[in-house]
Symmetry: C2
């Protein structure tokens, strides 16, 4: 294992310290328990908190700031944050309109965020209300290594962006949850791995894959997908991902019209060059167009990674006027920024 | 070789097509000859054109837009653009105040941009004036596989950003060139590779490196650096890079005061997780502080890549009021955006 690390036990804190120093205009870091908050605490809004295992950067700390999250709780690499982290973050950022937790659907994350939510009403002088949006955009498999139900993957970024925008308007907790649930329901993702990732504490690749194979439908922790296949041309790989997404959206009766408008996110898992991600975008765009889907918003890059995995995922979010408005609104975070 | 590609001959055009579709609000793509321009041609300003071999994305097309480049000329992977590409781009974007070419110092790039510059006065009805800034921030080696003199690497992004800002004010060609030369002279970079990259047309890694070695001072095409070493802790690797940068800036009498202010860029080569880049930032920040250098501006991410190389570079740019002003000013490109 060759990585830019010192002691394995120090990786997380050293990386978080670097992140908070590099973005000291945007975020503050609390250690023990570990969480990050906006530098300027927001007032009169629902506080949005996300979190999960580290190793998916810029998820979630990279999305703290105006128009997105109020706090993020990073666990150790590929390990859920603990309830005390989440509770401490909630107490730090709540601003009298309640807390919305945005949680990727993995058993450990769901359990620990639930425990924090249960403790929350008793943790403060005045009770703090909360609600939770579970993201589950990965259409590759139902149930997985760490998951009951579908996994939450790169579509989580779209949920965080849109709900973050709505929360800035002063919308209430139920409205924020409703938008998060809607965006999640209109989103589907499919990922492909060309290599494994290596968790620092493990010191060896999470799974074995040969020089001639790919894993279709891989999860962002290297969980198995739908099948192991022979390596093929990009067009064939992308076509299978697009078909999986279309089938999922049709099966769930989300995609019903003959034409519609969508956001296309091509997400790198960490070790795939931008040149290849744009090539994937080029093919996916044509294929979605052939299905009557007009791509009017796009995002290409490393937004939800799996450490050093070579691979990529394709995410489609079906837009409506409300989602478009909240996607387009200003955002100022380390990893997404526009309009200010 | 496992990559998201179709036919090797089509990689560049398919990737450029994806890029221009994903950013159709910002750029237009011309094929045969290949170049990209701003969607809205700018008026009354020096036109900034950069280019070079592909495989370093988001360099350079990702920096086209308000406050940075007017055009970019992508060659094939790790191959210089041809004079006809550069000439066609120049004719497309010139706006009566001349053309400034920003060129990384590699023999092929220098030669082809020079040829284009020589043809330029005769290519239009009215002669078009031009000047060139050569970037040469890599302090690892003098002369290299593809280079006479120092190599231009990630510091090029800082040159493009600052000169791009000045050009928007309507400054003349000589002022833009002077600022570019100044920023370049005040910038030093040092890179480290943990793995090779693989050029699609070659189909195998550019160089061999074992699981226990690193290449200190590597170039962005996998050119040899200062030495092959045993893999070490991040702090030791970063310390050597920081010392190389400090020594270079002192030797060139750029760093003379006991205290100064600087921009710190931690650049990933394409396959290194953001988590590790922030860990590198954390160490580099402390070490530069110990040298009396206050880091007041930061950039961490994949900004000048080497395809799928695992590795990173550290770039320090000594700031003054003029450079700070132009770094901070609004920019709207695919890969750098703030203030609008």
């Amino acid at each position: 294992m060759k990585k830019f690390i010192n002691k394995i036990d120090d990786v997380l804190v050293e990386s978080l310290s670097g992140f908070s120093s590099a973005h000291s205009d945007l975020v503050s870091l609390n250690l023990e328990p570990n969480f990050l908050t906006r530098k300027q605490k927001a007032a009169n809004k629902v506080a949005l908190i996300s979190g999960g295992g580290s190793g998916h950067e810029p998820l979630h700390a990279g999305y703290i700031g105006y128009g997105m999250l109020d706090a993020a709780c990073p666990g150790h690499v590929f390990t859920s944050p603990t309830p005390d982290q989440i509770l401490a973050a909630a107490i730090a950022v709540h601003a009298d309109k309640g807390i919305l937790f945005i949680v990727k659907n993995y058993a450990g994350d769901v359990m620990n965020f639930e425990m924090a939510a249960e403790m929350l009403p008793f943790a403060n002088e005045l009770p703090i209300e909360s609600a939770t949006v579970l993201t589950s955009d990965d259409c590759a498999v139902v149930n997985s290594t760490y998951t009951t139900g579908r996994r939450g993957v790169a579509g989580t970024v779209i949920v965080e962006k849109c709900v973050g925008s709505l929360a800035e308007t002063g919308a209430d907790l139920q409205a924020c949850k409703a938008l998060g649930d809607k965006v999640n329901s209109r989103t589907a993702s499919m990922g492909v791995a060309l290599t494994s990732c290596t968790v620092p504490a493990a010191g060896r690749p999470t799974f074995d894959i040969s020089d001639t194979e790919l894993e279709m439908g891989v999860g962002i922790h290297g969980e198995p997908g739908r099948r192991r296949e022979a390596m093929r041309e990009a067009d064939a790989i992308v076509s299978d991902c697009v078909e999986a997404i279309i089938t999922d959206l049709k099966t769930r009766a989300i995609l019903t019209a003959n034409t519609c408008e969508a956001l296309l996110l091509i997400n790198g898992f960490g070790a795939t060059p931008l040149m290849e991600l744009y090539l994937i975008y080029n093919t996916a765009l044509k294929l979605f167009n052939q299905h009557g889907i007009q791509i009017s918003r796009s995002l290409v890059g490393n937004y939800t990674t799996a450490l050093d995995m070579a691979g990529a995922s394709i995410t489609l979010c079906l837009l409506d006027d409300e989602i478009k408005q909240h996607w387009d609104s200003p955002v100022h975070t380390a990893a997404l920024r526009w309009g200010r």
